[in-house]
Point group: C2
Chain length 309, copies 2
């Protein structure tokens, strides 16, 4: 007999990681969304409650990232029962921390546990993408990918590839109390890019990935940047230049925007430096008139998991 | 007492490797340029002869890739003697096989051997870039980088990073008797690129590099492509679509244009398949009215080296 209910937690994530727009992401050990899935007789997916830091999200399952993801999973599994979801939001909306993705991921991990034959966690990826695309209008796996697998992940539309992270790397992520509309953030990317910019970003990406595989922090430092998206989105985030500089002044290997912003992140090879950056980045947002909260986490943090009630 | 003369060979190379425009390249065990450097009393660099498959190249040292590269090396070394060069071209001009780069690389390796304290081969990179930029008008190391180090190399303007190649990978490279003007090939890239294309190319590049590090041929197959440059340059090469298809039909992991063309290349996990592709690609060029010659080489072929007279 399968379980009748299960609860899962999915962590927030740093989408893009600056250098890998729509492709790279890593989780953080910080806020997250928690979803409980209940087996119900009626073969539908139903959202029973949304609580926590945001509550005004669509309740119709096919317009909700968690609901749509679980619909896709149940269609695949071909079971004769349905699932009701209770969503506890821990990640603010429009923060650039993968909040809509985390609801989908947590819901899938919980719902998967109710299946007669649960899938391996990586096999949930297509359903997570289906859920994520409800919120963003297009499928990109740079949040759901790392949320499923943990750590740093390369997420193409076809597959997830875990990228090794050198030991002892820390991320500092700071979220200001400000909303960047995803649609507006996307609009900044409409103007096409000259070949020189494309090659420069490719050079960053290649060095970053080679640095991760070679465990070469100098190479990661050389690659952890963004000449593609950050220059166009920085002005949407009050104080971003100063916040980034605060991270670099604290010793960051690199710093950029998390997801579509307004959160900012930096990578550090030293926990104390990341802690100092957290204070300095919060102070820089305060100078720009924004209150902010921040987290320090191993880059190689764990992904979504079932939690016992 | 230092040597008074030295001869070096530098192999042809596949610039861009499709997925890494201006950044990735690998050498082939096939044609190459050979340069002999003679120590002369007058503190200048002089081109004494240019022979082989092309002879109408600039003889003024600072307008010749080999001459300019050696000038830069001597300026760095601060020696009180000069160097005369005899260049034997084995790589056709405008073939997309790194011919101008190979002259610079071979000249540097030969001249370096005449220095009181020869540099390590990788340290010759900035001088090779200086030479290469005489021919192309801009510095890019995707030919001189692999020609110096051998194998597959990521070449940024600042550094060379050898990329591991899984054992047993073969390249087939076919050169048709046709010249693509470098200036024209560059002009096709002037129109800027939409973000979707940039992300698609980034996804290819990231998968290709992860595939090399993971020794995962499926991932290399997924990544070995080009949605950025090839679609714009393919029409400059008569029969390119059919030549590429011939490579794929022979089992290529991927196939694209070598450098700015017109040469085409494919990667194979089997020597016999690469040999078959060579015939099929030559036949496809013949259908388009072009005679062609081809080579099959390990991807991880050796770089430039001194040769004994």
């Amino acid at each position: 007999m399968s379980r009748s209910q299960a609860t899962a937690f999915a962590p927030a994530s740093v989408g893009n990681v600056g250098v890998g727009f729509d492709l790279l992401g890593h989780v953080i050990d910080g806020p997250g969304d928690t979803v409980t899935a209940f087996r119900i007789e009626e073969p539908i997916v139903r959202i029973d409650s949304i609580e926590g830091v945001i509550v005004d999200l669509p309740r119709e399952a096919d317009r909700n990232t968690a609901g749509r993801a679980v619909q896709a999973l149940l269609e695949h599994a071909g079971v004769d029962f349905g699932i009701a979801l209770r969503i506890e939001k821990g990640i603010p909306l429009g923060s650039g921390l993968g909040g809509s993705a985390a609801s989908a991921t947590a819901a899938l991990v919980a719902a998967n546990a109710l299946l007669p034959k649960p899938l391996e966690i990586g096999a949930l990826y297509p359903f997570a993408l289906a859920g994520e695309s409800v919120a963003s209008g297009s499928a990109h796996g740079d949040n759901v990918g790392p949320q499923l697998l943990g750590g740093l992940v390369l997420a193409t539309l076809e597959r997830l590839i875990p990228i090794p992270v050198p030991q002892g790397l820390w991320a500092c992520v700071v979220h200001p109390d400000h909303v960047v509309e995803t649609r507006l953030a996307r609009e900044t990317l409409a103007e096409p890019y000259p070949i020189g910019t494309v090659v420069a970003q490719n050079a960053l990406l290649a060095q970053f990935l080679a640095g991760c595989y070679r465990k070469d922090l100098d190479l990661i430092r050389a690659g952890l940047g963004d000449v593609l998206v950050e220059p166009r989105r920085a002005s949407l985030i009050p104080g971003f230049a100063e916040v980034k500089q605060a991270a670099l002044d604290s010793g960051a290997l690199g710093a950029s925007i998390s997801g579509a912003g307004p959160s900012a992140f930096g990578w550090f090879d030293d926990r104390a430096a990341a802690d100092a950056a957290r204070q300095a980045m919060i102070a820089a947002f305060a100078e720009a008139g924004l209150s902010a909260e921040g987290w320090v986490s191993a880059v190689d943090a764990p992904g979504a998991r079932l939690i016992e009630d």
